[in-house]
């Protein structure tokens, strides 16, 4: 590796390493070195990660620009907040967390390129990042090839499991089944109409939902329609909804399309107070754009709402607002992103090492009692045990908790009978 190639990238790191090494003899003269209790770097880092006696570097890899920026900004903020809080508590194994932020620019190959840069050039100990399935699919081979550790926050379609990824969001069966059961029981729903954006997550989610409706709930799917990402014309599907009169509209439309969809639904005279609608894709972040008055009355099914009433969340929400502004809202994914650095810290401490192999092995069973959603635990399959909740959208853009599962729901990324 030449100096020119890595100008500005490795050299500060190298300088710090040198400074760190230079400080070693001086350490013996300091009676009260704050990190004197910390285990030696050589013991906790056997694979050449960016760990010094005082610092450990992690990567943050989200879209700060492009169409996904609006969704991913919340994740970036949550991760930075978690890192700040962990550092205030003394860091990880006596080391402060330093982060390098990279921009995936809403472009999947850029995600792969930046992930590679973080692992190969910066030797980060873990990466908090990705949002869309497409970006995760692009990054996954890089993580596996260079043996990195990714904490992925979004609820997603499942059908994946990797030694190198911890999925802090829910997989599809975890998120969907409890919600469908609830609405079938509560509203006596028998007929469902599915509307989704046209890519892997809505398609897979709807496949699972359809199997559940047909085989378990003995109901009927009266329509299933997909729209390209970014679509803004939903009038034809709204007409079909009026014709088929389903008991429940089940939607997984993502991003900006939601704004058009709910406005047109309202304009067409479909009153969500009377027509049950269950969405798995609208969080507080999306309502910010849709407007509370356009979606009030709709049900959302996920694991976290900003309005949750528990001690952890009551500490988390003000801390988040203090860091990022009074007006910010916190959606499901933002909360899941907040779990990433914490779970990593707890796992590192359990393993007593920053080595990726040891973290991967130590992850199952790690529990985080301070989670804003309540309590989570990592399953053997690297997904999280978590509760599923149903909330009802209110005019002010918040959700009112209507239902939550009594127990944690087991993550099942390869569900039998749903494939």
């Amino acid at each position: 590796m030449s100096d020119e190639a890595n100008k500005g990238l490795l050299s500060p790191l190298r300088r710090k390493l040198l400074m760190g090494m230079a400080a070693v003899p001086a350490l013996t003269m300091l009676p009260r070195a704050s990190f004197a209790q910390a285990p030696a770097t050589s013991a906790v880092n056997t694979t050449g990660l960016a760990v010094t006696d005082t610092e450990v570097t992690v990567g943050i890899l989200h879209s700060a620009t492009g169409t996904m920026a609006i969704s991913e900004t919340g994740s970036i903020e949550a991760e930075k907040l978690a890192i700040e809080q962990i550092n205030a508590m003394g860091g990880v194994l006596g080391r402060k967390i330093k982060f390098i932020q990279e921009d995936g620019a809403s472009d999947w190959p850029t995600f792969a390129e930046k992930a590679k840069k973080l692992l190969v050039n910066d030797k980060v100990a873990a990466i908090m990042g990705c949002w869309t399935s497409a970006s995760r699919k692009a990054v996954l081979p890089v993580m596996e090839q260079y043996n990195g550790m990714l904490y992925y926050p979004t609820f997603y379609e499942g059908l994946e499991q990797s030694k190198n990824v911890i999925y802090t969001g829910q997989e599809a069966t975890q998120q969907i089944l409890a919600g469908l059961n609830w609405i079938a029981k509560e509203k006596g729903a028998k007929t469902f109409f599915f509307i989704g954006s046209d890519y892997i997550w809505p398609r897979t989610s709807n496949k699972i939902a359809r199997k559940h409706v047909e085989n378990v709930l003995k109901g009927k799917v009266v329509g299933e329609e997909y729209y390209a990402l970014g679509s803004t014309q939903f009038n034809s599907v709204i007409n079909k909804i009026k014709l088929t009169k389903p008991d429940v509209i089940f939607t997984d439309v993502v991003g900006g399309s939601n704004v058009a969809f709910y406005k047109q639904l309202k304009a067409a005279g479909i009153d969500l107070a009377k027509q049950p609608l269950l969405t798995i894709s609208v969080t507080e972040d999306e309502i910010d754009g849709i407007g509370g008055e356009n979606i009030a009355g709709a049900y959302a099914c996920m694991k976290y709402f900003q309005s949750l009433d528990n001690a952890n969340n009551k500490a988390f929400v003000p801390a988040f607002k203090k860091a990022w502004g009074e007006k910010t809202v916190i959606g499901d994914v933002t909360q899941a992103a907040y779990l990433g650095p914490w779970l990593w810290k707890l796992t590192v401490e359990k393993a007593g090492s920053f080595d990726v192999d040891k973290i991967a092995a130590a992850s199952p069973g790690v529990e985080f009692k301070g989670a804003p959603e309540g309590y989570v635990r990592i399953h053997e399959n690297h997904h999280l045990w978590s509760k599923t909740r149903v909330g009802r959208a209110k005019l002010d853009g918040q959700f009112e908790l209507i239902y939550e599962t009594a127990d944690l729901v087991e993550p099942d990324p390869f569900p039998k009978g749903y494939q």
Binding site: A64, D103, K137, L159, Y199, I200, F414
Partner: protein
């Protein structure tokens, strides 16, 4: 320029300088990660090269080169994906032995048009021929009806949009918006480790020089003269008895094939192919590379591509939240101040001084001050 040589002396020097830069300087100074990034940038250089012929010389502005880049890339990716989807690698699926995205989309057998991509020979032929034939169809439909200029640009843009929608919509067959990821081996040879990246880089540079030679040949042949004449005064060429449409189709097809080779190289070097390289935005980006480098200069287009891509990477690493503004500013500055791009700067400011320097040393006037400068094509 009455002879049909590939290049004159100053062009030869320019090509040699580029060769030394790509083959010796970069591999010696960059680590494998950065070299692989250069390999990625160079895949766009193929497209830029095609645009020099098609747009710079032929005057046909295509805003849909991403389509051909994508076709080439997808052909390569299909071959690699099939190899990565062996029964052994995919036993976790409901139907082992087919690409993973097909399995997610409940497809249970390999579609017929995927089957030939088990053969590398077929794939290589398809990389060149599929985009070539597609460009020929578009070209014939447009140019024979004398559709040109802005209208043609708009239509190519529409084709790019249609292609994206098609790929995203048919996700069971194409991988949809996720694209084809996790490409692993080429005939059993792992394309992911560092040493493979280095081999692929040199292979790519080799292909690039073959394409440069072809471009040089086209430019110096009578064909190149006709293209320029067409660009300047189409009617006059037509009245002289040439079939303008056929020459335009030819230029467009060449550009398409170059773009396709770039796309295939992309799939090999990056191990990835997705619709985000097919649509309108990447297609326009490719035109920008050419514009920054200088649309009349073959070598300028390559330097332009490298410069813009490099700026993109380094700006985004340094300013994750602001870099797009910096990049936008760069484009505006170049287009406003130097309409002929980098090559224009070289031709207008640098080269005359070098010439004067050489001339002042030599007593006799230089015989090779080339006529290509006269037709607005400053060589590097």
């Amino acid at each position: 320029m009455t002879d049909n040589r590939f290049f004159n002396r100053s062009e030869l020097i320019g090509i040699l300088v580029l060769a030394v830069f790509l083959v010796v300087v970069l591999p010696l100074t960059l680590d494998v990660f950065r070299l692989n990034l250069v390999a990625k940038y160079l895949t766009y250089a193929f497209v830029a090269l095609g645009l020099v012929i098609c747009w710079g010389y032929g005057g046909i502005l295509s805003l849909g080169q991403g389509v051909f880049f994508g076709l080439g890339g997808y052909c390569m990716a299909m071959f690699l994906k099939l190899e990565a989807s062996s029964v052994e690698n995919t036993k976790i699926q409901s139907t082992p032995g087919i690409p993973d995205f097909m399995d997610w989309n409940q497809i249970t057998a390999l579609p017929f048009f995927w089957k030939p991509f088990n053969s590398l020979t077929f794939t290589i032929a398809a990389i060149i021929l599929v985009p070539g034939i597609f460009a020929w169809i578009i070209g014939t439909a447009m140019f024979k009806r004398r559709v040109g200029g802005t209208y043609f640009a708009i239509i190519t843009q529409a084709v790019a949009a249609i292609m994206t929608i098609l790929i995203v919509g048919q996700q069971g067959y194409t991988g949809g918006i996720n694209g084809m990821t996790d490409l692993r081996t080429l005939k059993g040879w792992d394309i992911r480790p560092d040493h493979a990246k280095i081999v692929l880089y040199f292979f790519e540079v080799g292909c690039l020089f073959v394409c440069i030679m072809i471009a040089q040949f086209v430019r110096h042949s009578k064909l190149g003269r006709i293209l320029v004449a067409m660009r300047e005064k189409e009617d006059r060429v037509r009245f002289s008895g040439y079939s303008v449409a056929n020459f335009k189709i030819f230029a467009f097809c060449i550009a398409a094939m170059f773009a396709a080779i770039g796309g295939a190289m992309f799939a090999l070097n990056v191990g990835f192919m997705s619709p985000s390289f097919v649509g309108i935005v990447p297609s326009i980006e490719m035109v920008i590379y050419t514009a920054v480098g200088g649309r009349l200069s073959i070598l300028g287009a390559i330097y332009g591509t490298l410069l813009v891509s490099f700026a993109k990477t380094s700006l985004s690493e340094t300013f994750p939240e602001l870099w797009l503004f910096g990049l936008g500013g760069l484009f505006i500055a170049v287009v406003l101040a130097f309409p002929n791009g980098l090559a224009g700067i070289w031709g207008d400011y640098v080269q005359p001084r070098i010439d004067r320097l050489i001339a002042s040393r030599k007593s006799k006037p230089d015989g090779w001050t080339d006529s290509s400068v006269a037709d607005g094509a400053p060589a590097e």
